[in-house]
Subunit: 303 residues, 2 copies
Amino acid sequence: LTSRSLDRESGCTVFFKCENFQRTGSFKIRGASQAVHGLTAEQKERGVVAHSSGNFAQAIALAASSAGVPVCVVMPRTATRSKLDATRAYGAEVVLCEPTAEDRERLADELVAQRQATLVHPSNDLEVIRGQATAAIELFEQIPDLEYLFVPIGGGGLIAGCCLAAREFAPACQVVGAEPLVVDDAYRSLISGRIERNQTTDTIADGLKTYLGDNNFPIIQRHVKQIVRVSETQILDALNLIWQRMKIVVEPSAAVPLAALLNQKQLFENRRVGVLISGGNVDVASLRFLSGADSPPTDRAVF
Amino acid sequence: LTSRSLDRESGCTVFFKCENFQRTGSFKIRGASQAVHGLTAEQKERGVVAHSSGNFAQAIALAASSAGVPVCVVMPRTATRSKLDATRAYGAEVVLCEPTAEDRERLADELVAQRQATLVHPSNDLEVIRGQATAAIELFEQIPDLEYLFVPIGGGGLIAGCCLAAREFAPACQVVGAEPLVVDDAYRSLISGRIERNQTTDTIADGLKTYLGDNNFPIIQRHVKQIVRVSETQILDALNLIWQRMKIVVEPSAAVPLAALLNQKQLFENRRVGVLISGGNVDVASLRFLSGADSPPTDRAVF
């Protein structure tokens, strides 16, 4: 998608790759499908195990079950009912764990051992990274002369895939990372040369709290020259702009790349810039105006 | 746009014509452009006058000013600041009136007389009706075998245009009207044979409170066999479905046709059905989670 109004706002020509329209509502289905596709016949029979509290849960559920592969997803017992229900509806068995990274990984490892299943990591699995690359490949096919591509960094799988795609299909295009200031682990990792973790996770961009992995970090180190960090206010402003001007529903994490571009727009003036909109999974029912609980609307404003 | 999930929900194959992505955020720019295009050189010089509290204000502002035609829009002094600002930003002079139909029309007539300008009515002007027809024409070009087309009824210009389009380009396609129960003036007009008005206007679908005109009503009488009325709850449910499943921002009025289809879905099973999404102008900033005023998000839910 393009937007005259956001071109004006940013001073460059922006091409949005809208993964909020993707099946299961985010780019995650790409990597999940690729991972399932790469299994041997025997692995397919034994099934896959994954752990996720977010978009990857639904993605691996759909990717595996539509290929006839048994799938079990470890999810924190604090996950919203809508996420648990959606993951089950896509055909996964859901196993609940305590809401800590340790418990989640321990339980997933146990299940893998018990079932001789294959663990699919949401961002560090090499097949997953290759799958995510297809988002950028499609954008390069449509806009071959893209000069920059802004990508959010959570676990690092998406941006690593985009780097591989750029290297092969758009070597003149620089991949720019985008990260919330309060979870700037990737930014710090590039500086220190080792995988850093976050001490704070209090960001509205809840998909970007995770840290890099040993497969995707070297790719990011090699290819990403710049990571732009943004404040929570900048994320909210960018989110607002996307909803209001582009008329699309995106999740807060998906607004981080536009926030980064606007934050540093003097560097990208008149450039052709890609912005990867990573997903659109927000719980719309929890938006006050849609709950029906409010007083009736007045003439003044609808909501 | 299409949606597997909404196809499942409705039991038919739905093709959404998404006018929320249209310039100025609604289909109104079509009729406004057509009306401006149809002016003589002398009329263009003298300018146009319109009255609108909604999407037509911005549409006629942009259509006229981008053709170099002076444009003055009479708007109720109770209109939201964002609407007033947007209309001015698109190049219109805005004249404020009392928030009554009488004052609005009186003031517009005065301005027309003073300036020898041309009045452009948002839904009853024949050029405007012809312009709105292009929304349906584009849909028929893409989906030639459409069997039904659901269209919201406010002032009647859009549905009248869609009827003319169907007659010429898709004679096998039936145009179905959709209206909120509490403003079912068109439904009652079809029964009584004369233009009825509304006693109640307390609907979330604020674009559909107006009544039909003497140019569009005969077209609607001749071509529309069915108007489906929906409750406020059904509108909210449809709005929620569109935002949540399709990931697009639409205004409440734009959800009325889907609400109507779902309300009567047994009649349209396995049919190929068009749904006209009329616009996407909602004040996103007033959605609570985007205001930034709330407490920081938790792990449990984003908003």
